[in-house]
Amino acid sequence: MSQLEGTSEKKLLPFWPHYVLSEFIAWYVMLGILITLSALFPAGLEEQADAFKTPAHVKPEWYFLAVYQFLKVASIFSFLGAEAPKLIGVIAPGIGMALLALLPFIDRGPKRPARRRPLMLLLVIVIVLVFIGLTVWGQVG
């Protein structure tokens, strides 16, 4: 930030047209990516649905794969009882989502910059890695 921008008023940018123009440029790039991906890798279509023919590798969409894989590997908790794997497998992600939804009410500290919240940064990195790990595991497993 330059020395000239001393007063708080000068640290502001007009939303219109500055921000809107940049946003439109981002949209234009995304349109290009969307059309390119669609042209190079068009949406496929497998055989018609058949309730009596289970395919070899059945998977949910990639964004549910992490939760699905966690539910599968939760069978390691079977030493806690017959119902424990299912219970932990579905309740743990549920609690995770609830904590995420209530994040602003849990983390009430006034610090905003990421550099000054190393614990939160670490937590985010760990959660992202676990999510990616479970998704990849579900995909190849």
């Binding site: 921000y19 949209w27 949406a43 649905a49 395919p55 998977k59 549910f64 497998g89 579905v90 549920g94």
Partner: protein, 235 residues
Amino acid sequence: MRVIRSWTPMHLAQLTLDWIDERIGLRGLITASLHVTIPRSAHTYYLGGITLFFFMSQAVTGILLSLYYRASPESAYDSVLFIMNQVNFGWLIRSVHAWGANLMIVFCILHMLRVVVQGAYKAPREVTWLAGIALLFVTLGFGFTGYLLPWDQRAYWATTVGTEIPGAVPFIGSFLRDLMRGGADVSAVTLTRFFGIHMLVLPASLAGVLMAHLFIIHQQGLADPKEDETKGAAK
């Protein structure tokens, strides 16, 4: 009222716009929405707006697909084949819709990560965050219900295992699973149910929550990631 010096098309257009605005008064609202300032140090990386772009693209391509799609086990698959092989640019419209669905979820997640890392969810923006969580759920619901509609093997079995996840919830699990499927198995009832939710319930929900999300953002302005929530409180 402006003084009209000559009857050029520009002046006629101006006159028409003035006439309309005197009756509906939209100009003030547009000015109030656009003429706001944002902190110079706020870096949104345009992620939320990009998610909005994908939603608009999904709405347009989705409406086009709905003109040919038929939601029944007998004809759904054939109608998708027809879209892919017979309809002009049908394959492109469907592919853009499929890619857009995945990219919308990707940018939803990236947008959320940005907000978490910058601490932009903190007071007084809790309600914006909650609306955002609702938008994430609606978006995931769009993906889940839309995936079944082509009625091919991948769609059918992904929905079968996908509905097994809520089926593992204690006590009410099998009730939830049967409610989603409309019976013990994925069937014609599931298809019409998912189609109705995908085409009517979720678009209406998303439109409403999105308006709230954007309205609160407008009321509060963007969070400045360089400044603490309450200046001086941390020192």
